[in-house]
Amino acid sequence: MASHRSVCFSCREPVQAPSCVGCGALQPPPASPDPFVLFGLPHRYHIDAADLDVRYRTIARATHPDRFVSRPAVERRMALQWTAALNEARRVLKDDRTRARWLATGRSAPRESGGPALDPAFLAEIFEWRERDEDEPGVMRELATASRQKLFRKIETEFSEWEGGSGTLDHIEDHLNRLTYVEGLLRSHPEA
């Protein structure tokens, strides 16, 4: 667990963890926590899901509201905030898409609430898929499945290079926006 606050709000002793070692008081969570820092993990796309679960359980045992039922209201509130922040961080890290987007942009969701921006060439390609699907039903699903795999491979490769010290994450968000669209297509064209 990374340090997020230097003194305990309650006894003023220095603290490094969610709870003050001196008096046991739970400290408030950081305002907008970095999910990787919260779990003590390096900024990497490749993470070990089982390890994440173990870390989650360890921290949740320390912060969960159930542990603070008989503590003062201020600490109960902090336990609620901490565990909520922890649950959100785990959600971001668990899913390949949100984890990738967070690393590339510092956000877990697309910028626009109305759906992400897509380039015209990609949209033209989708348009062509739709036309082909009308002639030959099922083609859309095949093409979208292949595209989905390809996008995941690209994301994977670019992160591998970046983690190896070369390359950038400049195209990740673009891949993710396309992926969101393609997965939407797959949902709206279920298997026959």
């Binding site: 359980r57 949740a60 159930d66």
Partner: protein, 608 residues
């Protein structure tokens, strides 16, 4: 001061406590753990609770209340069917919450009736523990929404209980099973009670109970079996409906007794107005099969939400008295492809689990100091946004506690109030979800439309209850409210909402996209009209005609359902008016930053 666990059931309620490292149910003077959730109000103001109230209900049909759990946290308009089914009369003058009319007594709410049951359980605890209990863990169906949970908490408060936690019934059962077996793995808990059905999928690993998903129906249970059997014996639903309230209650009571006989002996007789009627097991099973089949859909959805197949579940646990019916067991075995566990008493297991959780929450547990429970929210939470669309901010089956925030702005110049409408459910349109609450953020500084930034923070606590706080970011003006139940939809509506959300996903999406397109068009048109009215002097060439032409076409298209045409025209209007907009922005910047070179400011802002 030991903490207690209470199962506040539709037909029966129990209280349990951990003593000497073991959870046990507390018994009444007659040695029974189950207290029938039946309450009778006497003319002299006294109250009869339990077995006597239940057994004498046919003689006092207008003063006795059973199955009130079905009415908890719901609006009268949503309860008409249940009121007819249970032969209770609701106060027609009260539209906001349910109030039952009582013969020779003031009207009572379901919360008050439930509080009478809780008071008796509390008294039992005081007697057995030789003193006041500490806090209480009270169980609720996992599929209870915010208003139903809040109503349960209110009833406990009325009964003088300190609620430590509202605990989901299937989760309570899982604790009792998990701590009993001390194993790990993935469980499905199939909980069919007197009036509610839940299915929860949980993972137990290293002392942590993690609920993966939950689904259910808060209006499906053994009550429905009783009614089906009563109608079968009476010769059909119409014949049963013609009976007077006392005779009908007598028939249902006789059917309930016969149901237990059928499960054990394969045949039974029901006493009807026209004499005793023999009912075979086959006929009974045929009559309840449609009710049972409704549980299958919930099971499939819970598995899908957990990302599992039935084969990946290690064990299926049966909970609730209604799982004693042999057909229920066979049905579950077929659904999950394995024999379900029923080692623990299905009537007591929820109360035992609640007592264990109450013990763990005490901080000096005799049972399992390191055990941790992570539950989920059963239904998505969202806000009604422009055009009546739901903007989900917390998806169903998110681990609680959970929070989310969204930023909103104003749509009209100098708007000082923002209304927010919180809904619960999974449909795209807000009107098809259950309304939880409406609240206002007042006192915004008067600013041009779109300038204020209202950040709204939603938190669902460990009881599954929603708290909302809102703040205007520039001024720091804060408003904080707890969601109060306003009114609701029937359970059939909630169920239909979820089923429909899946069945009609595509129509919903189309409808939503059309609304989005219209809202967007309205916004652009409003902005253009305002600009043309105030700054027509800044138009050059034939700009005015071109803009007006596209605006007129857009206005006309908005009355149609041609979404793509609306979007295309909106985009075109944006394009043709862009140079005009840019000139206006530059002029405004120049005015605002007078003293500095407009070109320089424009360049810095990326306008040139």
């Amino acid at each position: 001061m030991a903490n207690i666990g209470i199962d506040l059931g539709t037909t029966n309620s129990l209280v349990a406590v951990v003593m000497n490292g073991r959870a046990r149910c507390l018994l009444d003077d007659a040695g029974a753990s189950m207290l029938p959730s039946a309450v009778r109000y006497e003319a002299d103001g006294s109250v009869v609770v339990g077995r006597a109230a239940r057994d004498e209900a046919p003689r006092h049909p207008h003063r006795t209340f059973t199955s009130v759990k079905r009415f908890m946290g719901r609006a009268p308009a949503d309860c008409q069917a249940d009121a007819a089914l249970f032969r209770v009369k609701m106060d027609p003058t009260e539209a906001r919450f349910v109030r039952f009319l009582v013969e020779g007594h003031a009207p009572v709410t379901p919360v008050e009736v439930s509080a009478e049951v809780l008071k008796l359980l509390r008294a039992r605890a005081v007697e057995c523990l030789f003193g006041e209990p500490g806090g209480a863990v009270i169980t609720v169906p996992a599929y209870f929404d915010d208003a139903q949970r809040q109503a349960t908490k209110d009833a406990a408060r009325l009964a003088g209980l300190e609620v430590l936690r509202l605990l989901n019934e299937p989760t309570a059962a899982a604790i009792a099973y998990g701590l009993d077996k001390r194993g790990g793995g993935t469980f499905a808990v199939y909980d069919l009670g007197g009036g509610t059905f839940d299915i929860s999928i949980l993972k137990l690993d290293d002392g942590v109970f993690q609920v993966l998903s939950t689904a259910g129906d808060t209006h499906l249970g053994g009550d429905d079996f009783d009614r089906a059997l009563a109608e079968l014996a009476a010769g059909g639903a119409d014949a049963a409906a013609k009976l007077d309230d006392g005779a009908f209650r007598g028939l249902v009571a006789s059917a309930r007794a016969a149901k237990h006989q059928l499960s054990e002996h394969g045949a039974a007789t029901v006493a009807t107005a026209g004499g005793d009627v023999k009912v075979s097991l086959d006929a009974f099973e045929a009559s309840i099969l449609p009710i049972l089949e409704r549980t299958g859909a919930s099971c499939r959805r819970a598995l899908a939400d957990a990302g599992l197949t039935a084969a990946q579940v290690d064990a299926v646990v049966l909970v609730g008295g209604s799982t004693r019916v042999p057909l229920v067991r066979r049905h579950v075995a077929t659904l999950f492809g394995r024999e379900p566990y029923c080692d623990l008493d299905p009537d007591e297991v929820v109360a035992l689990g609640a007592a264990m959780q109450a013990d763990i929450l005490s901080g000096n547990s005799q049972l399992a100091d390191d055990m941790l429970l992570l539950d989920v929210i059963p239904l998505s939470l969202g806000l009604e946004v422009m055009g009546g669309v739901t903007e989900k901010f917390i998806p169903r089956c998110s681990t609680i506690p959970v929070n989310a925030h969204q930023t909103f702005t104003t749509h009209v110049d100098n708007q000082t109030v923002v209304d927010l409408h919180v809904v619960q459910g999974d449909r795209e349109l807000a009107s098809q979800n259950r309304s939880l609450a409406r609240f206002e953020l007042r006192g915004l500084p008067p600013l041009p439309a779109g300038v204020p930034r209202v950040r709204v923070e939603f938190t669902v606590d460990a009881d599954g209850l929603l708290h909302v706080a809102a703040k205007e970011e520039h001024t720091g003006i804060e408003a904080k409210i707890d969601v109060k139940p306003s009114y609701g939809l029937s359970e059939e509506d909630i169920e239909r909402m979820l089923e429909d959300a899946i069945d009609h996903a595509e129509t919903d999406v189309d409808e939503r996209l059309l609304i989005d397109a219209r809202v967007e068009a309205e916004g652009i048109l409003a902005a253009i009209h305002k600009a043309l009215a105030t700054d027509s002097g800044m138009l050059v060439g034939n700009e005015a005609e071109v803009i007006q032409e596209v605006a007129t076409a857009l206005q006309a298209s908005m009355t149609t359902t041609e979404r793509e045409r609306i979007s295309a025209l909106s985009k075109k209007l944006d394009e043709v008016s862009a140079p005009f907009a840019q000139r206006r922005i530059e002029r405004d910047l120049t005015l605002a930053l007078s003293g500095r070179d407009a070109d320089e400011v424009g360049a810095q802002m990326g306008l040139r």
